[in-house]
Amino acid sequence: MSSIIDYQDRATCIIFGDGAGAVLLEPNEEGYGVQDSLLRTDGSGGQYLHMKAGGSKKPASVETVMAREHYAFQDGQPVFKFAVKGMADISAELLERNNMTGDDISWLVPHQANLRIIDATANRIGLPKEKVMINIQKFGNTTAGTIPLCLWEWENQLKKGDNIVLAAFGGGFTWGATLVKWAYDCK
């Protein structure tokens, strides 16, 4: 993310960091793995979090560079407001649709954008803090990297059969929640 961050924009530059995570997907015939996924988009949120120039709408020019339009622009307050509700609601909806409650869930793996958004989601589905993966203090928001980086860090504690909820909210707006039945014990 640092390549598109304006380190003169104090509201935005404090949030983001660089990092990448990866997962391997393989077929399973015993029912383990991804059970369900709810994904959403709402383009009306695009105005609050975007990059102004560099696309076909406003190609790069001397003017766009001078106006600092090749950086991530964020209007933090509306994004925060939508994220708190969006991530919590969709996580609750996912559990409901799978006839589960927080008691059935071993771990919540939330996108790491803001501790208060994470807390709101955990509270909404009734998960205590010790069941929520949080490493935002070390890495900030690595956008698409946050969830797999958490899984990587907590991999040793995950057990075969654990029900895990992954939840995210981001620019677009885009958001979603995914239910995973963990497929292996760490060796």
């Binding site: 993310m1 640092s2 390549s3 598109i4 380190y7 104090r10 404090i14 949030i15 983001f16 960091g17 660089d18 990092g19 990448a20 995570g21 990866a22 997962v23 391997l24 997907l25 393989e26 077929p27 399973n28 015939e29 383990y32 793995g33 991804v34 996924s37 994904l39 988009t41 979090l49 996108h111 803001n114 501790l115 994470i118 949080i134 935002i136 203090q137 070390k138 890495f139 900030g140 928001n141 690595t142 956008t143 698409a144 946050t146 969830i147 797999p148 980086l149 991999e155 992954l166 995210a168 909210f169 981001g170 620019g171 677009g172 885009t174 958001w175 979603g176 995914t178 995973v180 292996y184």
Partner: protein, 139 residues
């Protein structure tokens, strides 16, 4: 042939973060902010920054995927498809997946980037799951 429904399981996890740390105290020297303000509002104390001439997203993807293959004991040549969720591709095109596959030696893979900002992982995961569930791809 088994008639059991195929699900897509995560069978290995890996990650890569660059070594360079940018702390709240470093940011205090760059913009008008302070450690207490950042921590109380976001929970963040520090973040990592990829530094170095010419380094790009694929330079984080490649070590992450290489480690993933090592953990699972497979060769990059066994990868069928590499889906990369990113808003910071190396270039507008070709895709970061394409570039990473070349660096990895994932000669039998196809792939593409998914642009879904902070939901990029969930959108990519669900896409990958659909490819596995189709029965057509194994890794």
């Amino acid at each position: 042939m088994s008639n059991k429904k195929i699900t897509a399981a995560i069978t290995a996890v890996s990650g890569y973060v660059p070594d360079d740390i940018l702390s709240n105290f470093d940011l205090e020297k760059m913009v008008d902010t302070n450690d207490e303000w950042i921590r109380s509002r976001t929970g963040i104390s520090e973040r990592r920054i990829l530094k170095g001439e010419g380094l790009a997203t694929s330079d984080m993807v490649v070590p992450a995927v290489r480690q993933l293959c090592e953990k699972r004991g497979i060769s990059p040549e066994e990868i069928d498809c590499l889906v990369v969720g990113t808003v910071t591709p190396d270039m507008i095109f070709p895709s970061t997946s394409n570039i990473a596959c070349d660096k990895l030696g994932a000669k039998n893979a196809w792939g593409f980037d998914i642009l879904a900002a902070c939901s990029g992982f969930l959108f990519s995961l669900t896409t990958g799951v659909s490819l596995i569930e189709s029965g057509r791809y194994k890794k």
